[in-house]
Structures are given as C-alpha cells and as structure tokens.
C-alpha cells in the first residue's frame, strides 16, 4: 500500500534501531538510568504498541513515557456526566466520535446511556452531526466536541457553516483542549526526569513548530515533532538521541511532509474566530490547568450547548485508587498502578487511560502483557 509501506520498512527500522542503541547506551550509562522520552500524543503511544516498537528498543537505555495527548483519556468524569445529562434530554440527539462512547463517568458511559434509551449516535466528523441536524429539524443535535488543536479546526469550520446556513438546532458541547499549557504543567512538575520529547504531529500540522520553542529554550529539553508511522517514530527518537549526544536542545521537525513551520493559517483563523481560551480546564489525573481549554466565543452562543441547555457542570473527583495522574506524568508505568488489570481493566475501566486504544494503560493491557514485571507498589498495596 503506497504512502504506508514506505514508512514500515523493516530494513530501515533495523538501521535506525541500531543507531539509537549506539547513541543511547553511553547516555544511559552516564545517568545510571534509561533515558526517558515522552511521546506527548496518544497516536504515538498507539504506534509504539501496535508495531511492537518498545520490544525492538533496548529497555536498559530507552524508556517511553506516555504523555497526556489522548483527548479521550484526560476527560474528567464530571464532563462525561454532563454529556449523559445532555444525551438523556429527550429533545436531544447526542453525536460523538466513536472512542468517546466508552469513557466512564460516575453514572456510566455514553454507550450505557444509549442502551438505556438515550439517542446517542456515533459520527466520523462534526459535519456528519450537522447533517443529522439538517435532517431532524424538530430535534436538538448536540456534538460532543473533543480533542486538541488537531480536531478544533473541523469543529470551528462546522460551526461557521451552521451559522452561514442558519441551522438553529445544532450546538457543541465544547471540550476542546490545548496542548501547550499541559506540556508546561508537566515540565513544572517537581517529580519529573524527562530527557526529551516526541512532539505531537497532527497538533503541529495546525499550530506549527514555534509554540514549542520554550521547551528547548527555557526547559532545555530537545523536542522532535514526529509522524505516526513506525519509521517516523524511530527516526524522531534517533533525532532526540542525537540532540542529547551533541548537547543541543532544539525544536526539530521530522514530520516535514505534513507539518509546516508556521502551521495552517486558515485552520488557525477558523479556530480563533470561534473559540477563546477558558481561564482553566479540569484534566483527569492532572487536575485543573490554567488556559488549557477553549470555549465558544459569545457571538456563537446559539451554538454553545453549555449556554443553550442547563448543563449541570458537575465536578467529580477521580476515583481514589486511580493513579492516572502519575501515569500521565511518567512517574509510574501503567502496570505499576495499584488497580491495573485488577479493579481497572478494558472491560471495566476505572480511569480513562484504560479506555481508548491510545490510552497508555489500555495499550499496555492490550498489546504489551508479555513482558510486564510485577509492580513494586502492588506488593504492599
């Protein structure tokens, strides 16, 4: 298959792995621990597990830390409960991306609400939701807008289109979040020992590479914006190793075939027209982070489900036993969580990291079970 097989060539992978091995060994030896590289984006976590990249790399010198870039995983329970409240309104057709349907709130997931009779429909694009609104003028269609800068432009353009076409039974429940403040919050965490980052490819396609400058300049960590094919991830990791070896801290772009230096001007304009920063937004596991979410601007109130409906705006604490936050910050590995594979499984997820195939815990559970060492905490838990 063109445009895919070229990026999955085993011979090239072998060369990259041996180069990474060569560079990483002395760096890890000097530190007395493996180098920790965070892949910010859940798509990279998925690639690492789906292609078995972790098993190809030397565990003694490289450790992936799975970052917060899975929008489904960082959604707090209260927001899911708000979704349920909206979906249970008999007037409402609640539309959502597929993998958000399984995220647990305190009263279950959207999938369970659907089984109880709520009109919840899976869509592949916000434009599909707008189409449903056109076809059901007597109902209210709410789209569960979710995701980082990657999905923000398509939501924004859909709202602009709804406004142009005068569609008045369509609104967004806006849960879009923004990656930069969250990376900053992670870098400010005192427990942190990260040596470098793989930057999120599709977010960068929209925002460009410049927003990451502070990581290199202020925090002195290398970051390489990476594509999602296995050779992309390996090459990016090699680029991070090279920066560390040469004592450089820069923003480099491995994903040049998709990511323009300054991002996508039109997409950014649409986002700026429709959305504005919230003062703060709640993240599962990480708590409240300043300026990390967006809401709709006042001039789009008619399309804002939070203004149109009485959304309960619930605050629900993460389950006590859940260690999602520590996993997200890279302090512990998924399988070292007290409830991994016991109280929290893909069938009955406690934390959202166990829900999506991009969530680190689900990936560990689904793709990685063979080589897991018993968790140190589990012994005295």
């Amino acid at each position: 298959m063109r445009y895919a097989d070229e990026f999955r060539d085993p011979a090239k992978a072998k060369v990259l792995v041996s180069e990474i091995r060569r560079l990483a060994a002395p760096l890890a030896a000097a530190r007395g621990r493996p180098l920790q590289v965070m892949e910010v984006c859940g798509g990279h976590t998925h690639t690492i597990f789906r292609y078995g990249l972790k098993a190809m790399l030397p565990a003694e010198s490289i450790e992936f830390v799975h970052g917060p870039g899975c929008p489904v995983c960082v959604l707090p329970m209260g927001r899911v409960d708000d979704c349920l409240a909206l979906a249970e309104d008999p007037k409402v057709i609640f539309t959502t991306f597929g993998d958000a349907m399984r995220v647990p709130g305190s009263r279950g997931s959207l999938l369970q609400a659907k089984a109880r009779g709520a009109d919840v429909r899976m869509v592949y694009s916000p434009l599909d939701a707008l189409q449903i609104a056109r076809a059901n003028s007597q109902r209210e269609v709410v789209f569960f807008a979710l995701g980082f800068e990657t999905t923000m432009p398509s939501t924004a353009l859909t709202v602009l289109q709804a406004k142009r076409d005068g569609i008045d039974n369509f609104s967004l429940f806006c849960n879009h979040i923004t990656i930069i403040p969250t990376i900053k919050a992670i870098l400010d965490s005192p427990e942190l020992t990260l040596d470098g980052f793989l930057g999120p490819g599709h977010v960068s396609m929209v925002i460009g590479n410049r927003p990451y400058d502070f990581i290199a300049r202020h925090y002195r960590r290398p970051i390489v914006v990476a594509g999602f094919e296995p050779l992309d991830v390996l090459q990016s990791l090699w680029m991070v190793m090279r920066q560390i070896t040469e004592g450089r801290c820069e923003v480099e772009n491995q994903y040049k075939r998709i990511v323009p230096e300054d991002g996508n001007e039109q997409a950014l304009a649409a986002v700026a027209a429709v959305f504005e920063l919230r003062e703060f937004f709640e993240w599962r596991g990480l708590g409240s982070i300043d300026h990390s979410g967006v809401r709709m601007r006042r001039e789009f109130s008619q399309f804002d489900a939070e203004r149109k409906f009485a959304v309960p705006n619930l605050k629900i604490a993460d389950p006590k036993s859940c260690q999602c936050g520590e996993v997200l910050k890279g302090v512990i590995k998924p399988h070292q969580c007290k409830v991994f594979g016991t109280a929290c499984t893909p069938e009955r997820p406690l934390g959202a990291l166990m829900v999506s195939s991009e969530g680190a815990c689900a990936a560990y559970h689904q793709f990685g079970r063979i080589d897991l060492k018993p968790a140190p905490q589990a012994a005295h838990a």
Binding site: M1, A4, R8, D9, P10, A13, K14, V17, G43, H46, F49, R50, Y51, G52, L53, K54, A55, M56, P71, V72, F97, G98, D99, A100, M101, R102, L111, M122, Y124, D128, L146, G147, T150, T151, H202, P230, L231, P346, E347, S356, S357, E358, H365, Q366, F367, G368, R369, I370
Partner: protein, 347 residues
C-alpha cells in the same frame, strides 16, 4: 431508507403473523415455492428425517443455531438470506460435518415489503442449493413496526460428522501451522461501507460463502486436522485466542503473511481498525500438524473457496493462552481478545 409507510407496494402486516389465512398465504406463495423440498411440503409441525439417511454420512450428529440481524439487509456480495444459510452451514462445516438440513425462523417487522421478503427467501433457497442442504422446517412471526429492524432470521442446522474426524479447539500443539483460506475482513469492511455512514466508497465485496466443500478437501489432505473455526464476529484474532486458551499453547502470527485486500487495508488505516478483528463470513482458521501444512495449503488453494489460502503463523509452547503478532517492521505485540466493539478513533 425505509419508505414503505407511504409506498403502495404490498407489505407484511400483523395479519401475516396471526396464524390464519394471511399467514398461510405468505407461506404458500413465498416460502414454499422458494424452499421447495418434500420434507417441508408436508407442512407438519416438524420435519421428519429418516435416520438411515443421516447414518450414511458418519457417526455423530452436529447441531447448531445462529440468528442473523445484519443492517443493511442487502450488501455487496450477499444479503441476510445468503448469510443465514452460509453462516449456519459453516458452523456445521468447521466440525468436519457434512451439513444436511436447516430450519428457518423469520421475525418480520410490520411494513416489510413482500417483494423484499420474496427476494430474501429466494436468496436463501439459492444458497441452500449451492451448499447442498434443504430447509425443511420453519416459523414466521410478525412484530410491530420498530420492534425489529425489517427482518431477523434464525437458522438451526444439522449435519453429520464422518467417523474418525475429531476437530476441537483443545487440540492445538506446538509445531502446528495456522492457516486461513483467504483475505481477512472483507465482510466487515463491505458492511461498514454499505451503511453509507463513512462517505467512503470502494469496491469491497463480502466473502459470504459456504465452506463445507473446502473443509472436505482439507480433511482429505489432512485427516487429523486439529482445530477449525469460521472467523465471523471478532475475526481471526478472536478465534486464535480461543484456540490458545483452550489448548494452553502460544500462537505466533506473522503480519507480513496475513492475506489482505489492499482496499480493506486502506479502509482499516483510515478508520483505525485492525483487520485481525474484522468480521468474515466465508473465512476459516485451521490449525494443522506442521507435517501436513503444505499438503493442506495445496488442497485449499485448488478449491474455489481457498484460492487465497496462506499459512499465517505457528503454534508454540509458550506463552500459554496468548497470541503474539510479529509485526512486519520487526516488533512483537500481543493480539488480545476484543473488548466490546472496535470503535473508530478520533484522530
């Protein structure tokens, strides 16, 4: 779209399920002529099958049932009628049985066009003829609009297992080879595309087909076939997990050996689906002794239902109960049981 509320075409009404004249008419005008066979024509409350006819084929009865609820009811490569026959025939076939008789129970939604019902009945009849089975007994119920999705079909089937054939999920052994009879996931992707929700179009045809002829050819090449299942819902991954757990063995697959239609691969890439979990309706997974792998493969490839057959992996002693995929790029990952449905990813 179901526009039958306003159409003047004759449709199923509650009267057709009432047990009276309307129901009799439905049976006599649509179902009997389509299924046409002497055991059914007697219209008793049950079919009476001469035991001698069964005993001629082997020494054990195979008996199975399955219900079919697919949306849409027609799709490229088949329809719910063909599916209802092939699915049950295949559930019998993978025991090594010769499928012989089927039942057919219909649950019809009020408002279904009689024309559509007739088309489905004829499709069932055609598939039954091709599979060499007779539909010998049946039932028809009608439910209120909204209580079913146009038509649900249940078929039960009986077949006879030849003496000496002993196929079981518990028999996989280290050294065995894992074989499939062709491209994976065609049915799953064909159905997804036929629902028209994806705004994608591509020529993918469901693989819906009877497999008993292929199984007979395989048994000729390898009478000691260890495990065999048709990989329907949950796909090849689910079947292999069942084998690995039941036999307490490890199974290693090789990604580069998986037979895949390029269009299905493309669809999976776009939607974030894994073809190992996609449904098939004419694909089986076999575990055969390593010594017989090549002969079985050759026999499969010379049968029309096995032209695309491929050895996709092997059975190993460890890790017990786990299926591992060696990825094309050189890594390893666990292929676990699916949790719920595969849901497309956000981005």
């Amino acid at each position: 779209m179901d526009g039958s509320i306003h159409s003047s075409a004759p449709t199923v009404t509650m009267a057709h399920g009432g047990g009276g004249r309307a129901m009799r008419g439905l049976i006599e005008k649509i179902l009997l002529p389509a299924f046409d066979n002497p055991l059914l024509a007697t219209l008793e409350d049950q079919a009476r099958v001469p035991l001698a006819e069964l005993a001629a084929h082997g020494d054990r009865l195979a008996f199975t049932t399955d219900s079919y609820v697919v949306t849409p009811i027609e799709f490229p490569g088949g329809d719910i009628g063909k599916l209802a026959v092939c699915g049950t025939v295949n559930d019998l076939a993978v025991s090594g049985a010769r499928p012989l008789f089927l039942s057919c129970a219909l649950v019809l939604e009020e408002g279904l066009e009689l024309e559509a019902l007739s088309k489905i009945a004829h499709s069932m009849a055609r598939s039954a003829r091709e599979a060499g089975v007779s539909i010998v007994t049946g039932d028809t119920k009608v439910v209120q609009r909204g209580a079913a999705d146009r038509i649900f079909i249940n078929t039960a089937g009986i077949g006879v297992v030849p003496a000496g054939v002993n196929i079981s999920a518990t028999r996989a052994q280290p050294g065995d080879a894992v074989i499939v009879n062709g491209n994976l996931g065609d049915h799953g992707i064909a159905i997804l595309l036929a629902r028209n929700e994806l705004a994608l179009s591509a020529a993918v045809v469901s693989d819906c087909q009877p497999l008993h002829g292929l199984v007979a050819a395989m048994l000729k090449a390898c009478p000691d076939l260890h495990c065999l299942r048709d990989a329907t819902r949950g796909g090849v991954a689910t079947v292999l997990n069942e084998f690995a757990v039941s036999s307490q063995v490890g199974i290693r697959l090789h990604e580069s050996n998986l037979p895949l239609n390029e269009v299905v691969r493309g669809g999976c890439e776009i939607l974030g689906l894994d073809p190992l979990y996609l449904a098939n309706e004419g694909k089986l997974v076999a575990v055969v002794p390593g010594t017989h792998a090549q002969a079985t493969l050759a026999a499969m490839r010379s049968h029309p239902a096995g032209r695309g057959a491929a050895i996709i992996g092997e059975v190993c002693a460890t890790p017990p109960g786990i299926v591992i995929l060696s990825t094309a790029i050189g890594g390893d990952r666990v292929v676990d049981m699916l949790v719920g449905e595969q849901l497309p990813r956000i981005c």
